[in-house]
């Protein structure tokens, strides 16, 4: 391993290791985490790498404190990350909400495994997708990315750090056990890496209002502990100074903004891959490892002469509602394979507004789909649609 921040070159890495390298390249200065399968390789890799560049790795006593520590580190001026899996993700929910309420940039990685509870510690699941959207109490906007390969895990980890800075919130990287553990070629080209640095406050101490939003609804810069701004940061409902104000008026000014800073900027945040969608009668909508599995089903369908394309969700939240709505006007149906009992398919149904068929291909977890089950769903859609 190098002692440089960016591990330039061509490497053979698993998704978890690629995630750690993405964090390194993005400028992560603090990683706080707690061991859990199947994310441990992220922590192991970064515990070796961060000290090489003067960063801090700290293994906390649980995931509650891990989430709290990355928020504290962020206000201390560092780019920070934690990584976990299902049970730990559940424990992080309260402080994830603190991060949303206090608009604290950081990255939270969930390498999904089978749940609920201890479930399938070593085997895949994708059943935390709605938890990612709604897991902490109260209303707030969410950005969640879902990589389908180690290479993409590297790239999306960097993007997660960038989005966190740009929109001032914890950004979720919703990967999964198979992507986390699969080894593939990862090419790291420093010239292709773009980094978004933390925005400095637009006004000097005394004049700067901690939570006055700009036109993009995002606070206009973030002070660092000790830089003279003397911030007050609270999880209570607060005004633009950051002071607690416990009334419906202040709530109505703050909370919609926390949601809309994501939804109103959705077009800039959204990232999807469209594969032969233009000519398709049936469109597969998938993310993470299920998008890889769907490729096999798509190929088998084409071999039969069926016109099938895929909309691969790289950002799952915000959901690409407009794209799905437009497709719903002309396709025979959507097929949504995911390793849960039907979560993102609910969003697809909502966006499709009943204009076309929407078929879930659920999987309880522990394995990836047999492409044959996806193929069958495609066949059913074509049959029912004709």
């Amino acid at each position: 391993m190098t002692s440089e921040r960016i591990l330039a070159g061509t490497h053979f890495l698993n998704g978890d290791e690629a995630c750690a390298e993405g964090a390194m390249a993005a400028g992560c200065g603090l990683f706080a985490g707690y061991p859990i399968t199947p994310q441990s390789e992220i922590a192991e890799r970064i515990s070796a790498r961060l000290p090489q560049v003067g960063g801090v790795f700290i293994q906390m006593e649980d995931e509650i404190s891990s989430m709290a520590a990355v928020l504290g580190g962020a206000w201390g001026g560092l780019k920070t990350m934690t990584a976990t899996s299902g049970p730990g993700f559940s424990l992080m929910m309260e402080n994830l909400g603190l991060g949303m309420m206090t608009e604290t940039p950081c990255v939270v990685v969930d390498v999904q495994r089978g749940g609920p509870s201890t479930g399938l510690p070593t085997l895949i699941g994708q059943a935390d997708m709605m938890q990612a959207r709604w897991g902490s109490h109260g209303d707030y906007g969410v950005i969640a990315l879902s990589p389908s390969s180690p290479q993409e895990t590297f790239e999306l980890t960097i993007r997660a750090f960038n989005l966190a800075e740009q929109y001032r919130l914890p950004v979720l990287l919703m990967t999964d056990e198979v992507v986390g553990h699969m080894f593939e070629r990862v090419v790291i080209d420093p010239d292709r890496i773009q980094i978004v640095e933390r925005r400095k406050p637009i006004a000097p101490p005394g004049e700067f209002l901690l939570y006055r939003p700009g036109a993009d609804l995002v606070p206009q810069g973030m002070p660092t502990f000790g830089d003279g701004h003397r911030v007050h940061v609270t999880g209570l409902t607060h005004d633009e100074r950051g002071y607690p104000v416990i009334d419906a008026q202040t709530q109505s000014e703050l909370i919609p903004r926390l949601k809309e800073k994501v939804t109103r900027n959705a077009e800039a945040i959204l990232d999807v891959e469209e594969i032969d969608v233009e000519s398709a009668d049936v469109v597969l909508i998938a993310y993470g490892i299920s998008a890889r599995t769907s490729l096999g089903a798509m190929q088998a369908a084409r071999d039969r002469g069926w016109k099938v394309g895929m909309l691969r969700l790289i950002t799952v939240w915000p959901f690409p509602e407009r794209i799905v709505r437009q497709l719903a006007d002309r396709v025979a149906g959507f097929v949504v394979p995911e390793i849960n009992l039907g979560q993102i398919v609910l969003e697809v149904e909502r966006a499709a507004c009943g204009k076309t068929q929407v078929r879930s291909v659920p999987h309880a977890g522990g394995a990836i789909h047999d492409p044959e089950t996806i193929l069958q769903a495609i066949e059913e859609v074509l049959r029912d649609g004709s």
Binding site: S3, L30, A32, A68, A69, G72, G76, E94, L98
Partner: protein, 293 residues
């Protein structure tokens, strides 16, 4: 054993006219008046803290305060410092991130007994074990004040709370003993009446590298005092002061707070061991780089 001079009958408190607080530079005056009940020890405690900062010659930029949730949790909001009001029990964990990010600054966690030792107990013991460079100030009022006087992890046996209508029957923590056994490098306890010694303890704790702990025995007349027939705030304070016995260097194992017994106060622990970042620097950072021959 030396009886505290405060054990004598106290004069009635003098009400002073409206003047700026001498330590106004450390206070968010635009947030005053505070929410605390009259007779509560938190105002005194906060005041002691500002005097300690002043004595240390610290600028507002040198210190950050992190609080959890509860009456004491509101302390952060009244200090004109970088101040962080976090989630219930998680102040120390948040402060851990803040402290390692800005190692030249002072990080102080100001919170209550329920926040720090019930819901947040795990973070306390681990931050002490790691010797994270922070000062934890616990205002111990023996109950959950903000939520209406429920019993907590420091409520003495037999004392009443709104969820202990027949008296508390759970053994309480001895906080100095807990802190000392987990590795805190400085441990002290004072009552909130002992403002001069309390301020000195804060000065010592804040200036010492590593995990330092100050417990403040403090009245909660609205909830704890009322239900336990301790009178007004001043009466409850007098009750604690009269029972307090100064024993510097006492074995913290013998500092249990037993109803009717002595309240042992003083500096129990003052020692040095490498802080988390000192150990990280010597054990990790240096070893992580390839050998250069």
């Amino acid at each position: 054993m030396v009886r505290s001079p405060r054990s004598k009958q106290l004069p009635a408190p003098e009400i002073v006219g409206h003047r700026p607080h001498p330590m106004q530079k450390y206070l968010r005056t635009d947030r005053l008046p505070h929410i605390w009940c009259s007779g509560c020890g938190l105002g005194t405690t906060l005041s002691c803290f500002t005097y300690a900062l002043d004595q240390l010659g610290l600028d507002a930029e040198d210190v950050g305060v992190v609080s959890g949730i509860g009456c004491t949790g509101r302390t952060a909001g009244y200090l004109n410092l970088d101040s962080y009001h976090t989630t219930h029990g998680r102040a120390i964990a948040f402060a851990t991130g803040l402290a390692v990010a800005q190692p030249t600054k002072k990080v102080v966690v100001f919170s209550g007994d329920g926040d720090l030792f019930a819901i947040g107990g795990n973070h306390f013991i681990h931050a002490a074990r790691r010797n994270i460079d922070m000062t934890v100030i616990c205002v111990n009022n023996f109950n959950y004040g903000m939520t209406g006087g429920q019993y907590g992890p420091t409520t003495p046996i037999g004392a009443r709370g709104t969820t202990a209508p027949y008296g508390n029957y759970e053994n309480p923590f001895n906080l100095p003993y807990l802190a000392a056994s987990c590795g805190a490098v400085y441990v002290a306890r004072w009552t909130s009446l002992d403002t001069r010694r309390l301020k000195e303890a804060m000065v010592e704790a804040i200036s010492k590298p590593g995990f330092t702990f100050v417990e403040i025995v403090s009245p909660c007349p609205t909830n704890y005092g009322r239900r336990n027939r301790l009178g007004e705030g001043i009466d409850e304070l007098r009750h604690y002061a009269q029972r307090s016995v100064i024993r510097h260097g006492a074995d913290p194992a013998e500092a249990d707070l037993i109803p009717g017994g002595d309240i042992v106060v003083g500096r129990f622990v003052d020692r040095r061991r490498p802080t988390f970042l000192e150990a990280y620097e010597s054990q990790v950072l240096k070893r992580s780089l390839p050998e250069r021959s």
